[in-house]
């Protein structure tokens, strides 16, 4: 499925051939990929710290070693099997000559001579779901407004939204709320770091007192209310009251705290937004990153997407009292 909107995805580029690199860089720019180049010695540590990747572009002879890429693919697959690995090969875009164990770790192969195959693979593995532009823009708008109402006097920046195949949890505080409508069913997550949030509470940038912030349950409440505001606005704008099937399916959500891993039981990518709250007016400057992720694991029918029409009579600005 083509990615016809502004969504990007971050990919690790593990390719030590300078000539190939330029072509891959151009490919990334043309195909909404943000390439992250990594030194061979740092690959595994970067993988441990980056939790919002869409995939990996890896050369077969990585680090100048024949089959170095295949061996690395197996190591990566052992710890991050959700990340599709696209392998650059010389002379063939097939995986037929590899063993089943090796093939298991590689999603697709490509050659520099014909990148159309890679383009198709990227569409299949990363940009496999289509998201209406108006929805993507609306989510960013709603969430920015919610953050601005809950964090006093801070600049809220929204990065370009992107697609994630990772299943790792960012930070220590994490909210999860169902999103259910006639055209989508899944979850929204907000994830952030406790210490960074506590710093903003201590600086009185929230509606929580500095003293209350030392109880982590109160810190939870800050992110909880942001989640509530976003969910409510999303529901008002995009969720329909159309009758839904009485036989709604459910799948278990699985969390492994040791590996900071969450699974929704599907291979679906996640739509991710990163918000940065900047308190640089203060000394020392404080910054809070909040990651918002949508996973529509139970139903995704963007062809049925609609925005709720609001009549003039119903239109009361938020915060205003509608007296009966």
């Amino acid at each position: 499925m083509r990615n016809d909107n502004d969504l990007v995805s971050k990919v690790l580029v593990l390719d030590s051939d300078p000539a190939s690199y330029e072509k891959i860089k151009a490919f990334c720019e043309e195909n909404n990929l943000v390439g992250l180049k990594v030194q061979p010695d740092n690959v595994m540590s970067v993988l441990r710290s980056n939790v919002d990747l869409g995939g990996i572009l890896l050369s077969e002879n990585y680090d100048g070693r024949a089959q170095g890429g295949i061996q690395l693919a197996q190591r990566i697959n052992a710890i991050r099997s959700e990340l599709p690995i696209f392998m650059r090969r010389e002379g063939t875009a097939s995986l037929d000559d590899l063993s089943p164990m090796e093939c298991k770790c590689i999603s697709a192969a490509y050659t520099l001579d014909d990148m159309r195959g890679l383009q198709d693979s990227i569409a299949e593995y990363i940009f496999s779901l289509s998201y209406p532009n108006v929805l993507v823009r609306g989510i960013a708008e709603i969430t920015k407004a919610a953050l601005e109402s809950q964090f006093k006097g801070l600049q809220v920046d929204v990065a370009a939204p992107y697609i994630v195949r990772d299943r790792l949890i960012y930070g220590e505080i994490f909210t999860l709320i169902p999103i259910e409508s006639s055209w989508c069913r899944g979850y929204m997550m907000l994830q952030t770091e406790e210490i960074a949030l506590l710093e903003l509470v201590k600086a009185e940038r929230t509606h929580m007192s500095a003293l209350e912030g030392f109880d982590f349950r109160n810190l939870n409440g800050v992110l909880g209310e942001v989640t509530n505001l976003v969910w409510g606005a999303f529901k008002n704008r995009y969720m329909s009251n159309a009758a839904r099937s009485a036989h709604l399916s459910q799948v278990p959500i699985i969390i492994n705290h040791l590996h900071r891993y969450i699974s929704f039981g599907s291979d679906n990518p996640q739509l991710c937004f990163k918000y940065t709250l900047d308190d640089s007016a203060q000394e020392p400057a404080r910054k809070l990153d909040i990651f918002q992720k949508f996973v529509f694991n139970l139903n995704w029918a963007p062809e049925d997407f609609t925005e709720n029409l609001i009549s003039v009579q119903d239109l009361v600005e938020s915060g205003e009292l509608d007296l009966f």
Binding site: S209, E212, V222, W231, N236, S318, G319, D322, L323, F324
Partner: protein
């Protein structure tokens, strides 16, 4: 003896609304859900205004509003919903329960203070 009861499962909202109202000279009590709200109202008949969320665990705000009238028999207290909900159907249910008004979050104290003060006078 409080004038206003703020009912919300979010401590952030209770803080935000409560701090604003107290800073403007009003006496405020708090409850964490609809069930707690009913208990607090029964214990403090001086409350004249309830500012109440809709989506709460244990008992939601609209159910609480209905029970204030039917079980507590309190027709005198004004109830204003403060919620992310904006659906006409919910507002109709609120009206049927006798609520006084509806505010879609986020809370903007300056927009509602004068009305709140009139309702507790």
């Amino acid at each position: 003896m409080a004038q206003i009861l703020v009912v919300d499962d979010s401590s952030t909202v209770r803080n935000e609304v409560g701090d604003f109202l107290k800073a403007n000279g009003l006496d405020v009590a708090f409850a964490v859900d609809g069930r707690d709200g009913l208990v607090k109202l029964k214990a403090d008949p001086a409350v004249k205004l309830v500012v109440c969320d809709v989506n709460m665990p244990n008992m939601d705000g609209l159910t609480m509003a209905e029970k204030v009238r039917s079980e507590l028999g309190n027709a005198g207290v004004h109830i204003i919903m403060l919620t992310t909900e904006n659906s006409p159907a919910m507002k109709e249910r609120g009206k049927a329960a006798g609520i006084k008004g509806w505010i879609v979050k986020p809370f903007k104290g300056d927009a509602v203070l004068a009305t709140f003060k009139k309702l507790v006078a």
